[in-house]
């Protein structure tokens, strides 16, 4: 096992002599089992579908080799790289521009990632791979896309505090490049809307 994630356990494995990654969403005993199985099954299907789908958009993501819906298990290509989260501050700031571009591409094609964090991007041979589509959905609603951006901002602010501003600026530059100024403005408006819904945001509540 290489990582015990929040959702599933990740094991190193082989698929016809290629190094592969096995992700299995084991039952969570603390959850009601009807709820638990429906979540695990839904996310396994979603993740395997989406990862394959984004490849056709020219976005780097692992190849899916095998899916077992009953066991909630996916075997996929092993990406030998470093999680963006663990890179040096300078590198993260740089890469945020590419992450912004990738996010823009996803949104333009009606896909919301749902868990846009620095731990879901891998740097491998100067390419950025996107992973973990368990919370994704097909949606062209701009409010859903704004939720993605807000989450990324929240994570930068709490987990990468010293570089927050530069990284966020870079992300937005990349995002704007790929979605265009008009859509960018719509999304940014919605992001502040969502932030204003957060509790005790006095000043923001005044804005429309």
């Amino acid at each position: 096992m290489i990582k015990k994630g929040a959702e599933g356990n990740i094991y190193l494995s082989y698929w016809s002599k290629n190094r592969a990654l096995l992700k299995i969403r084991l039952a969570k005993p603390y959850r009601n089992n009807i709820l638990d199985f429906s979540i695990r099954k839904h996310r396994t299907i979603l993740e395997s579908e989406m990862i394959s789908c984004v490849k056709s958009l020219g976005i780097y993501s692992p190849l899916i080799y095998f899916v077992d819906i009953k066991k909630c298990m996916i075997i996929m290509q092993y990406i030998d790289g470093e999680l963006v989260k663990n890179l040096s501050d300078n590198k993260i700031v740089d890469i945020c521009k590419s992450i912004g571009k990738i996010s823009g591409d996803l949104h333009k094609n009606g896909i919301m990632h749902g868990d846009l964090t620095t731990s879901n991007f891998i740097l491998c041979k100067n390419k950025i791979f996107i992973i973990d589509f368990g919370l994704s959905s097909r949606t062209t609603k701009s409010i859903d896309h704004a939720v993605d951006l807000r989450l990324f901002k929240e994570i930068l602010n709490s987990a990468h505090t010293p570089i927050m501003e530069n990284a966020w600026d870079n992300f937005l530059t990349g995002y704007k490049q790929n979605v265009g100024l008009k859509y960018y403005n719509i999304i940014m408006n919605l992001v502040s809307n969502i932030e204003a819904r957060g509790r005790y945001n006095n000043n923001l509540n005044m804005q429309k």
Binding site: K4, G5, A6, E7, K28, P29, Y30, R31, N32, I34, L35, D36, S38, I39, K85, G114, D115, L116, T117, S119, L135, V147, D148, L151, E154, I155, N157, S158, A159, T161, P162, I194, R197, G198, R199, Y200, N201, N202, N205
Partner: protein, 328 residues
């Protein structure tokens, strides 16, 4: 150093005395009284503030009596300046200001949410925890970075406490309804599918509340399913935050920490993520004067920190925890 803390952000009015001597802090007394709205109704800010005005003075004198000290012995007074209900906050602030100006005692306005965390850390001994703050006013996952509590995830609409209270009131209970809902849910057996809304590290409960209200099943089953769904959502986002931050401690503070089913789920989450779980003792998990006194004491004993001038003793209904700089 002896500090009086006054809490009056919502339904609870409480005074507490804390003493710091030779680097050791002890809670000497903590007295509280909680406003109980009529069945099926929530906290009416005006009624709650009247309750506080009526009972405030006797709570203060009881608290002083228990601690066996006089007001002249106090070195610091702190009060909850927000976030909370305006009329209620004002009662505590007026009491603190009057005492401070009449007896010439330094005064400190304190953020209520920070008080929750400071007291939780103090009572449980957690060192560098990921914090889950769950109450009627907050549902947040926080970690402390660069002199500030940073939000790792939070509710995008109503809080966990509100979800439970609003559904409880809909069934005819009076706030706070946590105990009643928990009791009912023990008799529920059928899990009903309800909206499960986890968005990254954030949660949203408003859809769940509407769905629960409009469901026609037995109340026991709805309570059971409501708790299971909401608590699983919290469990999942906490697990995500633990996996992301790789923190080895989880501290749970706030009124909803008293729920046994939730602590069972969080315990499981911590076992899975190999992390120690710290839960505030029930007596101090909900709103109390000690949390305000402790934060006041921490601020007063920080070098270069000066008490507020009387004209700066504000109250702020909306005061986000992540906007406060902390130097201790």
């Amino acid at each position: 150093m002896i500090c009086l803390g006054i809490e009056s952000t919502a339904h609870t009015f409480s005074c507490a005395i804390l003493k710091k001597h030779d680097g050791k802090t002890t809670i000497i007394s903590d007295v509280k009284k909680t406003y109980q709205p009529p069945s099926g109704e929530g906290i009416h800010p005006r009624e709650a503030s009247r309750h506080h005005i009526q009972h405030g003075p006797s709570i203060l004198s009881q608290c002083m009596k228990l601690a066996k000290i006089n007001i002249e012995d106090l070195n610091v007074i702190s009060y909850a300046a927000g976030p909370g209900l305006g009329p209620c906050l004002r009662v505590g602030a007026v009491m603190a200001r009057s005492l401070s100006s009449y007896y010439n005692i330094p005064i400190y306005p304190v953020n209520h949410a920070i008080g929750h965390i400071d007291l939780g850390k103090f009572l449980t001994g957690a060192k560098n925890p990921l914090v889950l703050l769950i109450s009627g006013g907050h549902t947040m996952i926080l970690s402390f970075v660069m002199n500030q509590w940073r939000v790792f995830g939070e509710t995008l609409d109503i809080t966990l406490g509100q979800l439970i209270d609003q559904f409880g009131r809909y069934l005819g209970f009076s706030s706070p309804c946590g105990k009643n809902i928990e009791k009912l849910s023990r008799n529920g057996t059928n899990y009903i599918s309800l909206p499960y809304a986890v968005k990254g590290h954030d949660v949203s409960f408003s859809g769940l509340l509407s769905a629960a209200k409009h469901h026609s099943s037995k109340p026991e089953d709805i309570c059971y399913s409501l708790q299971e769904t909401a608590f699983s959502m919290i469990g999942e986002v906490v697990e995500r935050a633990l996996a992301f931050t790789e923190k080895k401690e989880l501290l749970v503070v706030g009124g909803v920490a008293a729920n046994t089913r939730l602590s069972q789920i969080l315990n499981d989450v911590c076992v899975r993520q190999e992390c120690s779980l710290f839960i505030s003792p029930i007596k101090f998990a909900g709103d109390c004067g000690s949390q305000i006194a402790l934060t006041g004491l921490l601020e007063a004993t920080t070098p270069h920190h000066t008490p507020s001038k009387m004209e700066n003793t504000f109250i702020r209904q909306s005061w986000r925890i992540d906007s406060v700089r902390i130097d201790y």
